[in-house]
């Protein structure tokens, strides 16, 4: 057997500033030409294992390591990061942040420039690699002229100019809309076939990565490897459920239907499933049995109404065109659509950061077009994507209290309000803590508390879970769900389809500045035409129900979600 390109032997790592290790007893061999998915359930091991492989540890992040690690037969601690970069090419998660050059061509050439490759040869290599990732017609483009998926292609090309033996992808799907994510997975597959490099993908969106062949899945939890198995074998087990990672939806559905998991089922892809007639009948039977009890939804009051709203940053381009919709009190709604579809612009208009060119926005029946940002903020809260963009006080208490200081409340009233808010957000025990001592998910809570303290009728969150590992993702979403249960109206801008399906009954879909659909989340992902136009991706539940001959795929998805929620409640209770 060939030598492994990456080999961890009882490896452990502890960051300089931390009290306990982040990685424990890692044993992992990755061979040339393999495609390995590393799923990290929780803990900060996600970026750590990647940094060990590409040499950022110990080069940029010093710490103490134990055991042995070899990359391309070399010890990263002794090699310079530059030598390692010729063995392992890394595509980071942040598609904007890693764009160094000012144009596509220049960015791809960056590594060659550092190698002192003559200009003529450099241009030739850039051209070749750009063709490989299908970006060769955009060499003159600046980063802001590219979509998220295109930027990622550029990053990939930028590491491929080095003829690396292994490609490392850190959450390649995090910043992409579903269709672009799918294209990325296809591209990675093509590249691997072409170059034969080992591919390591760190990602917790399993189903999306499994869109193309994966040889092996490694599951990590709390800094340890808990499973390292060939894909088929891995998926037949219950490791994912046990460690709180979302398994592919079609597998969960099969499990609910009582179909026994086996490797012969070919569980790695919804299209490869080999279901017997009996299995199919099991799925249909489950569908029939689980007719949900239809609760009559109480007619709720309308809280926000958007009428004929249009807007453009410049007169030539319309970022939003004649948008109409309304939100009712106590709803939890997703706003979805591809990058640049106008989702964030809509939020800015609602909060009053930008003025619409036409149309109006009503809050509880009153036109708020004339209200200032501050006046609107009393009733509509806006939470930015990254908590670091909002936190401006060193102490949690001060941060949460900030929005009240300009108002007319007495000190006593303020104290009461802040305490109450901290309790709602589960932050009361930490009230005296500095913000810096909190985890990312907790910081997010602090920013949400800082908004809730004004008691808005509605909060809008921009990509609430972007860049989070599955543990923090669940933590944030369950928190939002609890808030919603307490009566807060919640609107989320997202391109995470699982989030939409699991947490929001209703979805508003945007494309090219137009409202395409305003319907149930289940419907959105079961309508192939809509899926196509909004750059989304249909759910595997749709594919599964079609394959099993269920007459109403949309209803199948709905029943699945209802069953899942009841199932979760049963487990908790």
């Amino acid at each position: 057997m060939a030598e492994p390109i990456i080999s961890f032997k009882d490896y452990g790592f502890q960051y300089l500033a931390q009290a306990s290790p982040t990685l424990y007893h890692i044993n992992l061999d990755i061979y040339p030409g393999e495609k390995v998915l590393i799923a990290v359930a929780s803990g900060s091991g996600k970026s750590t294992i990647g940094s060990c492989i590409n040499g950022l540890i110990p080069y940029a992040y010093p710490g103490e390591s134990t055991g042995k690690l070899l990359v391309g037969g070399k010890d990263p601690a002794r090699e310079s990061i530059f030598n390692l970069s010729q063995i392992v090419g890394t595509v980071l998660q942040d598609t904007d942040g890693q764009f160094i050059g000012l144009t596509v061509g220049e960015d791809i050439a960056f590594a060659l420039e550092n190698d002192c490759v003559p200009q003529k040869e450099m241009k030739k290599t850039v051209q070749e690699v750009a063709r490989l990732v299908d970006i060769d017609h955009h060499l003159e483009y600046a980063p802001h002229e590219l979509s998220g998926g295109q930027k990622q292609r550029v990053s990939l090309a930028g590491v491929m100019v080095e003829q690396v033996q292994a490609l490392l992808f850190d959450e390649p799907l995090a910043n992409l809309d579903p269709a672009a994510g799918r294209a990325t997975i296809e591209l990675i597959d093509r590249i691997q076939e072409r170059t034969g490099a080992a591919v390591i993908i760190i990602e917790h969106r399993l189903e999306d990565v499994l869109w193309r062949r994966v040889d092996r899945i490694v599951l990590m939890d709390e800094g340890r490897i808990v499973a390292d198995l060939p894909t088929k074998e891995f998926l037949t087990g219950e490791m994912l459920v046990d460690h709180g990672i979302r398994e592919p939806l079609y597998l969960t559905a099969l499990r609910y239907a009582g179909v026994p998991m086996a490797e012969e089922l070919e569980p790695q892809h919804v299209d490869s499933l080999r279901l017997s007639a009996e299995n199919k009948e099991q799925v249909r039977a489950w569908f029939r049995e689980n007719e949900p009890s239809r609760k009559a939804e109480a007619e709720r009051q309308e809280i926000l109404r958007v009428e004929n709203l249009s807007f453009g940053y410049t007169p030539e381009v319309q970022n939003l065109q004649k948008v109409n919709f309304s939100i009712r009190e106590g709803e939890m709604v997703s706003i979805v659509g591809k990058n640049g579809a106008g989702k964030s612009t809509l939020a800015k208009l609602i909060c009053g950061f930008e003025k619409p060119t036409a149309g109006r926005i009503c809050l509880a029946g009153r036109d708020i077009s004339g209200d200032t940002i501050k006046e609107r903020a009393q009733r509509i809260g806006y939470v930015m994507q990254n908590p670091n963009q909002m936190i401006s006080k060193p102490l949690i208490w001060d941060e949460v209290e900030m929005a009240l200081l300009g108002g007319s409340m007495s000190a006593e009233e303020r104290k009461e309000r802040v305490e109450e808010t901290l309790k709602i957000c589960g932050l009361y025990p930490f009230r005296k803590w500095p913000v810096s001592a909190l985890s990312f998910g907790q910081k997010k809570r602090v920013t949400i508390a800082g908004i809730l303290v004004q008691r808005p009728q509605m909060i809008i969150l921009d990509e609430p879970t972007a860049g989070q590992d599955y543990h923090h993702y669940t933590e944030i979403m369950e928190f939002l769900k609890a808030l919603n249960a307490q009566g807060f109206t919640i609107v989320m801008i997202t391109h995470d389809m699982h989030l939409m399906l699991e947490y929001t009954p209703r979805a508003i879909v945007f494309s090219e500045g137009e409202l395409l659909a305003d319907t149930t989340a289940a419907h959105v992902l079961n309508d192939p035409d809509l899926v196509d136009r909004a750059n989304l991706k249909e759910t595997s539940l749709y594919t599964l129900s079609m394959a099993c001959g269920v007459e109403d795929p949309q209803e199948f998805t709905k029943r699945f979600i209802a069953y899942e929620e009841a199932h979760r409640k049963r487990q908790e209770g």
């Binding site: 942040g97 420039e113 930028g158 501050k374 929005a403």
Partner: protein
Amino acid sequence: MARVAILNYIKRPSLVHELTGTTKLIFFIAWSVASMITFDTRILVCMLVIGAVIFRLSRIRIKDISVVLGLAAVFLLLNNIFIYLFTPEYGVELYESRTLLFAGVGRYAVTAQQLFYHLNITLKVICVVPVALLFIACTDPSEFAASLARIGVSYRAGYAVSLALRYIPDVQREYTNISQAQQARGIDLSGKDKLFTRLKNSVAILLPLVMSSLNRIETVSNAMELRGFGKEKKRTWYTARGLKRNDWLTIGFAAAILAIDLMVTFWDGSRYYNPFL
């Protein structure tokens, strides 16, 4: 969307843009030296006219760089005020004559010589500042780094400067986003509050801005290291261009300006053109 661009590269088709970064850098250095050395009003006026022509050729509009121009004007004014406050008779000393215009208060008289001295100071600044701004606005940041490297500056330093220039628009956009979100939390930045409160409030924006900029720096420096930045003593440049005819003409022109400047200035052994004697 940042509406107010403070100072960044503005891509437009023009003769000035077409010159290589190296040419522009050499021209800019020669030009600055020339205007720093001389106090000869005739030369300064000539340079002012040439500067105006170059500005026209560059297709950069005044409003593109109005913010920095405004700042420069404020500093120029302050500079003039302080010179007058500390040395109201410096012109008299310099030009060895005294033409009194107003008697003024105490030592603060107004003399033609002092005014002429102030005129020269002002002319010098007006000569240099627009050309400096033009240099930044017309030079592709990556070429900027390449041109610094070419004249011998370490490419690491050059790249740092060019990255900083490049991120100005991003940081401006981030600033707008953060300030909007903070205004929604009751931070008032409009003119209504007192100056002290406003200063205190601006910290509420600056802290998150610094934090997110630090994050950005961490990401980009990791990305750069992972792709071998700093490996060798030298590096090559994808965007580097060879000098063309216009480049050589421009460099020649810059040399001529500097030569004439030095000649005229030192011909009579004085940096000052004195119309009073």
